[in-house]
């Protein structure tokens, strides 16, 4: 088997890389794919918490590259899907503990057994970012509709192209239709025009993300959540399906009325 490696990156912190990694990985596994999530944020690991797997960590990625354990020993099997694994970051080491070459070797090894390898990149453009993109075939950039995040996304596009990762795609996260309508938030078309890259998904702002992170259950598992649907659609697009973008939903009349009278 020759799996595909996708790096999830952004430049700016706090835009939803880890949430996106967890949900894309989970949604790909829902479709029967064998998926390994790699937390490349060494020293600030969090993907384990978002996946609800923090109690199962024995070994981590640094143990693997330092030969303290075998790769399979460090891979944590997900509670929900048999084909879903997490390779956690080390928490007490720093980003220089792994080199891009070691990362590449690790990914080559995983590719033999996996359909998809999802690498959650740390914020920034230094060593951690370079490690995260080392073995990637494809890059997905996460941004939010704020000029600071889009600016950093633009920098990352340039850096990825310089590293030979052509045609990155973008997820626009935390969009709010009501704010776009009022002209208080940049619209999807404007951002895509400026960044000049392909859109792979739009994720609406969803309070459910906070709840799902706190519970350690990716929102892709939730049938009713809009953000969950958005991530399931992104996974299908990654698998090659030509799926139209979900229209941004405005608040229903009832919701708007409730907000008006202070009930919601």
């Amino acid at each position: 088997m020759a799996g595909k490696t996708i790096v999830i990156t952004s430049g700016k912190g706090g835009v939803g890389k880890t949430t996106s990694s967890a949900n894309i990985g989970t949604a790909l596994a829902m479709h029967g794919n064998k998926v390994c999530l790699i937390d490349a944020d060494i020293g600030l690991r969090n993907l384990d918490v978002v996946m609800g797997l923090e109690n199962r960590i024995v070994y981590d990625i640094v143990d693997v590259v330092e030969n303290n354990c075998r790769l399979e020993q460090a891979m944590i099997r997900d509670k929900r899907y048999d084909g879903l694994y997490l390779l956690p970051a080390a928490q007490t080491r720093d980003k220089t503990s792994v080199t891009p070459f070691q990362m590449q070797e690790l990914i080559d090894q995983l590719k033999e057994d996996m359909d998809y390898i999802i690498v959650d990149s740390p914020a920034g453009i230094e060593q951690g970012f370079k490690n995260a993109i080392a073995g990637a075939d494809r890059a997905i950039i996460v941004t939010t509709p704020e000029i600071s995040a889009v600016r950093d996304a633009d920098r990352i596009i340039g850096l990825l192209e310089a590293e030979g990762l052509r045609d990155p795609e973008v997820i626009i996260n935390r969009i709010r239709a009501d704010m776009v309508d009022r002209g208080d938030m940049m619209g999807i078309d404007d951002m895509i025009e400026i960044l000049a890259i392909n859109l792979i998904g739009i994720v609406p702002e969803d309070e459910g993300i906070v709840v799902s992170t706190n519970k350690g259950e990716p929102i892709a598992l939730n049938d009713k959540a809009k953000a969950g649907q958005a991530y399931r659609n992104i996974a299908r697009r990654i698998m090659g399906e030509d799926l139209p973008m979900m229209p941004l939903e405005k608040d229903s009349f009832i919701t708007r009325f409730k907000k008006l009278v202070g009930l919601s």
Binding site: I147, R151, G158, G183, M185, M186, I194, L195
Partner: protein, 67 residues
Amino acid sequence: MAKERLQFILVQDRVKLTPDEMDAMRDELIGVLSKYIDVDSQKIEMDVKREDDMTALVANFPLKGSK
């Protein structure tokens, strides 16, 4: 609003020039063009666009009195 601000910031990021250098380049371009044509310096637009396989500086120099 945000779109225009972002575009302005990205022009500087993409060409790796400081605002002062951008202004200097703009003024020099106007100087050169003005030797030959009547440029309306108030209406100049400069943008750095990313195309399929290159990044290009795209500038519009409207002529004075033209519509």
